[in-house]
Symmetry: C2
């Protein structure tokens, strides 16, 4: 069985995952948090960027985590559960295979989602759309940060086609949970 | 009866309305186009930015249009149906009132949606989410362009709360039509 990479993200109507780097995820609905915890329980490990990890250190410390960081050299095992890894210097897919992880949750932020999108490590996407507008902020994908060499035009050519599997209305105000699969066609 | 401002937009999963300024709306689904035409039939006038107008001149020429452009001085009536208007120099709400328009469709692009968001000219939003990812491109809102003086931080404070009215799955691949109202609370 090949590892399955499952991205989990919450966005506003206008596609923002946060107002800025330090913005906590406290703007998402209670129902979304309940859903996310249940899904994380079914995953073997979480891939998360260092900024996002810092905003949710408490709850994440109980789970297996691979934290992406450009400030470490290759790989640092902090504990049995916690590994820091520089995705530019480590073969992340090999690391996943070597450790036998089968279900991998991608928790963001933008740089981490983008890294996974570019490296074909996105098989499924659970996307919660909260009924809010930020107007500006951090987008779901931010392709230019991790890899300075790849220009936007190159990324534009490789846009990604997906298939909607299910829709769930999470609450009365209308938080929506959408589940997409990568389209195999 | 107060005029009702109805924004109509199609976005990708990652909140993009286009890959770039000149990108046509030919990436949206057939079902979305059919829905949009039916909705425009029920509106008295369309507010649209000059770039977006240029990409859809044919179909839009049959309808009442107010085209936003910074390159005109105040207001220019090109025909009975077509008015060019500089929203920085014209009281747009007064223009709408004077002409007796009751249902106003906002067709974008980003600068026009943002202008309407900032000026409380967004009562409803029909948002189609197409099952695609562009990775980068033009966001739904782009608040910094029309008004150079307003800094992002000021905009961030005024994020907009809405209520989901309905969900419709438009086709098999999963284009979703979401209908939101401005939350009156």
């Amino acid at each position: 069985m090949k590892p399955k990479y499952i991205a989990i993200a919450a966005i506003t109507l206008d596609g923002k995952i946060a107002k800025d780097k330090k913005h906590l995820s406290n703007w998402t609905s209670r129902e979304d948090k309940i859903f996310m915890r249940a899904l994380l329980d079914k995953c073997d490990v979480i891939i998360v960027g260092n900024n996002t990890y810092k905003t949710a250190k408490g709850p994440l410390s109980k789970r297996n985590c691979i934290v992406f960081s450009r400030s470490v050299n290759k790989l640092i095992s902090k504990s049995v559960k916690l590994v820091y890894c520089n995705p530019k210097k480590v073969d992340v897919k090999k690391l996943i295979r070597d450790r036998g992880y089968k279900r991998i949750a991608i928790l963001g932020g933008a740089q981490t989602y983008s890294y996974c999108l570019k490296n074909k490590m996105l098989d499924e996407l659970y996307l919660t759309i909260e009924p809010l507008v930020f107007g500006s902020g951090i987008n779901l994908f931010d392709e230019c940060i991790l890899d300075k060499k790849s220009r936007p035009t190159e990324i534009l050519k490789k846009f990604w086609r997906v298939k909607l599997i299910s829709i769930k209305k999470l609450n009365r105000k209308g938080s929506l949970l959408l589940h997409y699969n990568r389209d195999q066609k």
